[in-house]
């Protein structure tokens, strides 16, 4: 069945327990953790990544942040399945103001755990990430 309603594209990181998504347009790269050479990636404040089962793929995704007049990137550690999903705009529900933090939206999915949508800028603030990249 095809949908004609507007849709948004998310990169979804799904370990089967606490899936989260990020606006796909903000993702600049995805790298296997073993090949990552940049600053240490940050884990989302969900279930600790170090406690995940062995064998789950661990990757570093770099998200671009919207910092005024500065280039800023946020390397995030994710494990499990990475996929790009097109989600109808009407399914992406904004959180009530009191709950809106680094999770800004939620998607309820039939038969699957709900998807938490991450606000990159709010997450960077929550993690205390620097406001701009260090000069290379």
């Amino acid at each position: 069945m095809t949908s004609t309603s507007p849709a948004r594209t998310f990169l979804v990181v799904d370990d089967g327990r606490s899936p989260w998504g990020i606006d796909a347009a903000s993702v600049t790269s995805i790298t296997d953790e073993r090949d990552w050479t940049g600053e240490p990636p940050r884990a989302l404040p969900l279930a600790p990544v170090d406690e995940r089962e062995d064998g789950e793929a661990r990757r570093v995704l770099v998200a671009h942040r919207h910092v005024s007049s500065a280039s800023a990137r946020l390397p995030l550690l994710g494990c499990g399945r990475f996929s790009v999903e097109l989600i109808p705009e009407s399914d992406v529900l904004v959180l009530p103001p009191i709950l809106r933090g680094w999770v800004s939206h939620v998607v309820f999915r039939e038969g699957r755990p709900p998807l938490l949508i991450v606000d990159v800028d709010a997450l960077a603030a929550r993690l205390g990430a620097p406001s701009e990249d260090a000069p290379s």
Partner: protein, 154 residues
Amino acid sequence: MSTRTESHGRSLLPIQIQSNWLMIDADCVREVLGSRTWVPIPGASVEVPGVIPWRGRAVAVLDLAPFLPGMARIGAREQRARTVVLQVGDSLLALLVDAAREVQEIPNAQLRPPHATHQPLASFEVTLGETVMPVIDLHATVSRVGGASAGERT
């Protein structure tokens, strides 16, 4: 739900959470649903720990346990038999309850200051059958959890 308050009394909905029977203002009730799965939101407060989907919105779940002595907080995977969607001022909230009875029309003369019940959020108490129930002041509750920003504005 037509539950307009009469000048000589109030329309109240009895609800049960765990072993506690409470009453809430029926005028605040938008809908009583069946069991709904709620989603915890990381970083949320204990009073408003997550959301449920309702009519194309994410509605904040209100947990009364932090305000009511002896009541256990709702668990992350806990489901309850009924979901009461509330409109309190500008805020839309969902209360997960174990049971709800029919709306009761309570004359003002039967609304007594809290005495037998010791609930900080109660404005009155009412005896229904043999059970004394506190009448929860939903507006005061919402004020304590963040005022008008507590839920999705309508």
